[in-house]
């Protein structure tokens, strides 16, 4: 089946459709990865077959992924969904053990042990006439479905996306397709405006005094800065919080955040909240909860890789292992 949205060809693995894997309890084949794309040496995309989820997913929702039997449950935003293909798309930044390991082992044709969702309340796509959708770092992909939904709802959409430099830019075409204006910001000025996304927001507000709403997704520091940038203008600013989660069903309370002085569970009451009410310092402190464990996990994994003689990941290793085009190669799958 032909893919609807145009996709860059570089380092893309694709595979023809196969029967639905199913997600029964035991002895499951898991959730099949049908496409992978590497945007840079830290950012990659996985497209996972899950027809029921593709049907149910709405902008702003996320999934919990378990890579393998010994893996942890990590939350990832549904960056795109394709109801015809029956797939959901995740865009992942390799920051720690689990995400780096995913970068290493998640190939087309392999399967994720668990994928559950869509979780969280869908974003409220109101009747705003003019919105700014801001994405920075790992927030660029997650803000895309909201930008698209606003566009489909008839709003004038200004996209503001931030990257460290030119080489890290991805999905420019997708954003251009759903934004009336797109402002790219880079730390070093190698593309778009030099500076943080807040600079982009200010430029947009200067040009359009009638902005109804800002949606900002990214690291907590960035979302905090965005909320501060819009506060003087009194523009409603929604942010998507990313606290540490376990179950994602409201059962553990690990994801609790402080919003407007009240305690909320981000996985069931969020993840979107009014940025002007969020206690970001609290969130940032809670994200530091496992620093030493994260470091230990990373070291142990790197040692393992060394012992097993696995070269550390680079996008080229994917290509060398037959990344582009041929699906089965490098996946350990019998072909």
């Amino acid at each position: 089946m032909a893919r609807k949205s145009g996709k860059p060809k570089a380092k893309t693995e694709e595979q023809p459709e196969s029967p639905e894997p199913g997600h029964e309890a035991r002895g499951t084949p898991g959730f099949e990865i049908v496409a992978r794309e590497d945007f840079s040496d830290v950012t990659f995309l996985l497209e996972v077959r899950h027809p029921a989820m593709a049907k149910a997913a709405r902008p702003g929702q996320f999934v919990i992924v378990i890579t393998h039997e010994h893996g942890e449950r990590i939350p990832l935003t549904i960056a795109d969904f394709d109801r015809d293909r029956g797939t959901v798309t995740l865009v992942i930044q390799a920051v720690g053990k689990t995400t780096k390991e995913m970068q290493q082992i998640c190939r087309v044709g392999t399967a994720l042990h668990g994928v559950v969702g869509p979780m969280g309340l869908p974003s409220h796509i109101g009747d705003a006439k003019k919105v700014i959708c801001v994405g920075g770092g790992l927030g660029v992909a997650p803000v895309y479905p909201q930008a698209r939904a606003f566009k489909e709802g008839g709003a004038y959409v200004i996209g503001v996306v931030g990257f460290r430099n030119k080489d890290l830019v991805f999905w420019e075409d997708k954003f251009r397709a759903c934004c009336d204006e797109l402002i790219i910001c880079s730390d070093d000025g190698s593309v778009g405006i030099k500076g943080l996304v807040t600079k982009g927001i200010e430029a947009a507000i200067d040009k359009h005094p009638d902005i109804d709403e800002v949606v900002a997704i990214g690291p907590p520091v960035m979302m905090k800065a965005c909320a501060e940038a819009t506060r003087p203008h009194d523009i409603k600013t929604m942010v998507s919080l990313n606290p540490i989660m376990v179950d994602g069903t409201g059962m553990c309370g690990g994801c609790r955040v402080k919003v407007g002085g009240k305690v909320m569970f981000a996985c069931v009451d969020g993840p979107d909240f009014d940025g002007h009410d969020v206690d970001f310092d609290d969130l940032m402190n809670r994200l530091r909860r496992f620093v030493s464990e994260e470091k230990r996990a990373m070291e142990k994994w790197q040692e393992n890789c060394k012992r097993l003689n696995q070269e550390p990941y680079t996008p080229d290793t994917v290509a060398e292992r037959g990344g582009s085009g041929s699906a089965a190669a490098g996946t350990g799958r019998p072909s």
Partner: protein, 500 residues
């Protein structure tokens, strides 16, 4: 055989072999090792086989207790299992976790003078025997074409699923987590309820043809209304439990090192955080762990912390030991293992170490006043009794609220606390949708959840017009050959065997 009397029966309970406290705090192996056959026979000999057995009324699912005990005495262990499993689908689990002292054992007249018959331990013995021998109670089932959806794979969901499958329905359980079992899996730890036992009981349910689909969050992936209207389910049962942990709202609760017992237990039991970094899920266990609350959940959280290597574990509870809602046996075991209990103590503030972590807790001493509505004496703070003690982890085990997801995504009627409202037959406000277990009653027990699942199954059958064959399922106490109308018990659902 002369009639047994309280004077002629063995006066003391057969002792339950347990792992030595000093040894067991170092491991996750089961604490209570279980009866051997000899112990079981001694204990059975203590049963008076009452003509009007109080224990049966005391059992929430009405197990014919003296009948299964007499089968053990007759050395018909399989027969004992048959009787047990007619009423209780999870005997090896309930034998381990039921609060027997408040149920069957609490009303056994032997307990008036001696210690009551150890019914729970006998139940466990039979359950374990069945697992070891691979017995299961799988009747001949003729499909009836009805499709049943069950939400949640805890004891309530499993019980309802099993009964509907036995009636011939095509049953699918949807579970949000990646492993089935509900609290039995993520909450109750290995040393009290080994995963092997949970697996074995779940395997019996799969043998009935029940399908379990994990990784499925109902309400978000599809709604209850969609199950009824689009997915072709003739009836739906909701058994989603009550796991939505409560916090107290005192200052310092968002510090790192403060977490719910559910989180601690899930990380450890479901995600194997104890084996980090071989498993990826971490746990920031403190050196000195304080657990607030004194129920089963609190006991489990404390004893897990000990086993994971905490140096000191404190229990902080605002009432006294007498009011503690935990199973007596767990309280005993926790005391033996060296948990430090701070009764009549209420936390008022959790203190920061300056870097966003827990350093200490400030508490208030309490005294007991007049009885409140629940009949328990109300704890009253003692003026000026505030004190501080050092701790680096604070675990909340003070109960749970209803999970909001199904309410958020469906028109089903909830009560004012957010639990699902049902009539006395467990029918909800949506036609064909039934609910039971903790999501209806609030946090309760395994056996009550199971009982609710079975009750809902009966209502579902009535709703669908399936003839309830309960009458022929009942064990026949008088017929010693295990037959009913001359047909062997193994074919007990003969009512549905059609003559070709």
């Amino acid at each position: 055989m002369p009639k047994k009397t309280i004077r002629t029966i063995p006066q003391n309970r057969a002792p339950m072999p347990v792992q030595d406290p000093a040894e067991r705090v170092e491991n996750f192996a089961e604490v209570a090792l279980g009866f051997g056959l000899e112990d079981a026979l001694i204990e059975c000999a203590r049963c008076l086989d009452c003509p009007a057995p109080a224990c049966v009324d005391g059992c929430p699912v009405g197990i014919d207790i003296p009948a299964f005990i007499m089968k053990i005495i007759d050395k018909d262990y399989h027969g004992a299992y048959e009787i047990l499993s007619e009423a209780n689908l999870l005997p090896a689990i309930c034998g381990r976790v039921c609060p027997q002292e408040d149920q069957c054992e609490g009303v056994c007249p032997v307990g008036d003078t001696l210690e009551p018959v150890a019914i729970g331990r006998l139940e466990r013995w039979v359950g374990d025997e069945a697992i070891e021998k691979g017995w299961s109670n799988v009747p001949y089932v003729e499909p009836n074409g009805f499709k049943i959806g069950i939400i949640g794979s805890g004891p309530a969901g499993m019980a309802c699923a099993a009964d509907m499958a036995k009636a011939g329905c095509d049953v699918t359980i949807y579970e949000a987590l990646h492993e089935p079992g509900g609290v039995l899996r993520y909450g109750i730890p290995e040393f009290r309820l080994p995963n092997d036992v949970v697996d074995a009981e779940i395997a019996n349910i799969l043998k009935l043809g029940v399908k379990i689909e994990c990784n499925t969050l109902v309400g978000r992936l599809f709604t209850i209304e969609q199950m009824r209207n689009e997915m072709g389910f003739d009836a739906v049962f909701i058994g989603t439990g009550a796991g939505y942990p409560k916090f107290m709202g005192i200052p310092g609760e968002s510090l790192n090192g403060v977490l719910s017992a559910n989180e601690l237990l899930t990380r450890c039991n479901l995600m194997n955080a104890g084996k980090f970094p071989n498993y990826d899920t971490p746990l920031d266990l403190g050196r000195r762990v304080s657990v607030i609350g004194s129920g089963n959940t609190a006991m489990d959280a404390m004893r897990v912390s000990l086993r994971l290597g905490a140096e000191k574990v404190y229990c902080v509870y605002r009432r006294t030991r007498d009011e503690s809602p935990a199973r007596l046996e767990e309280l005993h075991h926790a005391e033996e293992e060296g948990i430090e209990f701070h009764w009549l103590t209420a936390p008022v503030e959790i203190l920061d170490d300056g870097e966003g972590n827990v350093r200490a807790m400030r508490c208030l001493r309490m005294e007991l006043g007049e009885p409140d509505d629940s009949g328990r004496r109300r704890p009253i703070p003692i003026e000026g009794s505030e004190y501080e003690f050092e701790t680096d982890m604070v675990v909340y085990a003070i109960g749970t609220n209803a999970n909001p997801i199904l309410g958020q995504t469906s028109n089903i009627k909830l009560n004012k606390w957010g639990y699902i409202e049902t009539d006395e037959n467990l029918a909800s406000s949506l036609a064909g949708v039934f609910a039971g277990g903790d999501i209806v009653t609030g946090a309760a027990t395994v056996i009550l959840a199971m009982g609710a699942g079975r009750k809902a199954a009966r209502s579902m059958k009535a709703y669908l017009g399936i003839r309830d064959t309960a009458a022929v399922y009942l064990s026949e106490r008088s017929g010693s050959e295990g037959t009913l109308f001359g047909i062997p018990a193994a074919e007990r659902n003969f009512a549905r065997i059609r003559l070709a």
